[in-house]
Symmetry: C2
Subunit: 373 residues, 2 copies
């Protein structure tokens, strides 16, 4: 690595890892080298030929050596092994992030396995397709999508800023969120739909009439069961690492189906009203531009700056102010809180937490804090 | 109506009725006039201006007067009222068809309400969108989709042939099916997904964390809940007219969710295998071209011929042979039965039933049949 080049390592070159590589290349960051590793050598070569990475590494250690940033984009349970293999090769001051669909478990592994002086910022881009693998990777996969960030409490704010730069570079909108909260929320909006779609498919597919039914299965069946075509390893890992939250939502779903059972058996006005209400609410949900802020091209060089700053000492407080300052433009979406409002609020909560943590560190240095109250 | 013009009436000019009109116009049938009625006068005018119909009628009676074919494309429960209103105005020998999502109830109403000499052929195009109304109508909605046909046992084969002509003209593939069987199958592949999608949406939307979750709800949530944006009247009517079959499938679905609950709680190899199996099976399902036969342009004039033949006596047996004769081209999809095979088989079953019915009629004319066995 020359003084002018900063290296980013991507471990796992499937749909997400490959798309991150393509998106970073599309952002035309100068002086950034992308090194990629995948346990499948064909995938590595394909990723390089597609331009998703600049160079193939032969193992995790080689990939992360000298890297300013390491992105782990493997199935969730494999993240633990990657962190273990990477640990002895990581550069002091570098930042490690991941793209796993659950966050509490991953943050626990990072805390357990990464050396001090290496910063971990959990990540979860809210993007995907039912098709997997490098063949389906695309540079625009993250554009205008939410990208959850769960920094380790010990992560340097410069490390957080570097991952924020990554999120901006790929066109996504960052969303700071507590890892436990994240796992509860995605259990409802992502993992429960996954289980429902798969259960619907296996139930109908496994019934004796399937050969007769299949020709009648139109777009409604196809869309509702789309998630059943997801990568089975990813689906399995999601269920295992977010089991408690998922079972909670599965139980609530079974309860909701019993409610619909009663509504259909009774068949009164309440059934119609339930459908009518759902239609209205879903239209409102769709019309709300969840992640709508255009990412101006001018923000992209920030990422390179951020990577550079990982290794340059600057006043933490000044950087923190810049990181979390309020946007000047007011929201324009009427009564409902806009995406900006929400990001601002989360940024504020994040800043407050960082400040509390900082204060706690300072208190510790100055002896025990006085008792509260 | 001149001797050269045949009139088709479309009652209900929403997504399906409007799209049928556009598809028929796109088929450029000469000497066919499309008359449309919708209880909403704005919709009527819009349909005419879009070219989905040639002429607006002021009521059901005016629309169906002198029509060779009447297509009822209203929500299911409204079909009964339309048949009642239409009955005194229908032409002897004309054919009535519908587009409702359940068929047993509709065939019962037709039998109860239509005068003898008017033929009923239930229909159900397996096409739709979550957006409703004439504004979303499109000529290609039915192209390469299955179109279920449930002829009334008393329907003249020329009437069946006329509706077959309609199906061909709009680019769909006909699928003869028993109405009870139809209702059982669509309960699984269409109505259960509708209830699941809506229940998932109302459960998550109604939870206290919704405002925090909504920004994380990505394409997986949107696709799995898509059917919750369906027309509430249509959804309600489906549940009411197909209640028994739907409740049966809802109970089975709840059972399947309990199975997944156990798999997730146990978290062994069986969970992974279930996801892996579902992915493989769904890929196989998708790769099977459910309705793939290109409808050659040359078949279109058949529709006009069929409309004409409704009012011309021809030898039933000769027509029946043509209607159900085997396609010459063998299937090309390897071991699995192709769409052609299936249509052929259903056509054969349909022919056998017609022949049985005919034989029974003949037996009746010749006195009681000898006891069997």
């Amino acid at each position: 690595m020359t003084a002018e080049t900063h290296r980013i390592a991507i471990i796992g070159l499937g749909l997400i890892g490959g798309s991150l590589g393509l998106a970073l290349k599309a952002a035309r960051l100068r002086g950034v080298e992308l090194v990629g590793y995948d346990r499948d050598s064909e995938t590595r070569t394909k990723a390089r030929r597609m331009g998703a990475i600049d160079r193939e590494a032969r193992d995790v250690g080689e990939a992360v050596s000298g890297a300013s940033m390491v992105i782990v984009a493997t199935p969730i349970l494999a993240i633990r092994e990657v962190l273990r293999e990477a640990a002895p090769h990581l550069t002091e001051g570098s930042v490690v992030t991941d793209t796993g669909s659950t966050k509490a478990a991953v943050l626990g592994w990072a805390r357990e396995l990464l050396p001090s002086g290496v910063h971990f910022v959990g990540g979860h881009p809210m993007a995907g397709k039912e098709t997997q693998g490098i063949d389906h990777a695309e540079a625009d996969l993250f554009r205008e999508r939410a990208y959850c960030l769960c920094p380790d409490p010990d992560a340097d704010e410069r490390a957080v800023r570097a991952v924020l730069g990554l999120v901006h570079a790929v066109g996504a909108t960052p969303l700071f969120i507590d890892p436990e909260e994240h796992d509860q929320y995605v259990a409802a909006v992502s993992h429960l739909p996954l289980v429902l779609a798969t259960a619907l498919f296996t139930l109908v597919r496994g019934s004796t009439g399937w050969q007769e039914m299949a020709p009648l299965a139109a777009s409604g069946f196809r869309d509702t069961t789309r998630l059943a075509s997801g990568d089975p390893e990813m689906s399995h890992d999601i269920c295992i690492t977010n089991r408690e939250a998922l079972l909670h939502w599965l139980d609530r779903m079974i309860g909701e189906l019993y409610r619909y059972r009663r509504l259909i058996a009774e068949g009164g006005a309440e059934l119609f009203e339930t459908f009518a209400r759902a239609q209205l609410d879903r239209d409102a949900f769709l019309s709300r531009k969840v992640v709508g802020r255009e990412q101006p091209q001018v923000e992209l060089p920030d990422f390179k700056d951020a990577l550079v700053s990982l290794f340059i000492g600057r006043a933490v407080s000044e950087r923190m102010r810049k990181l979390t300052e309020l946007p000047e433009k007011p929201a324009e979406t009427g009564g409902r809180p806009s995406r900006e409002d929400r990001t601002t609020r989360l940024a504020r909560l994040f800043r407050e937490r960082l400040e509390r943590d900082l204060q706690r560190e300072l208190d510790k240095d100055q002896g025990p804090a006085p008792p509260r109250g």
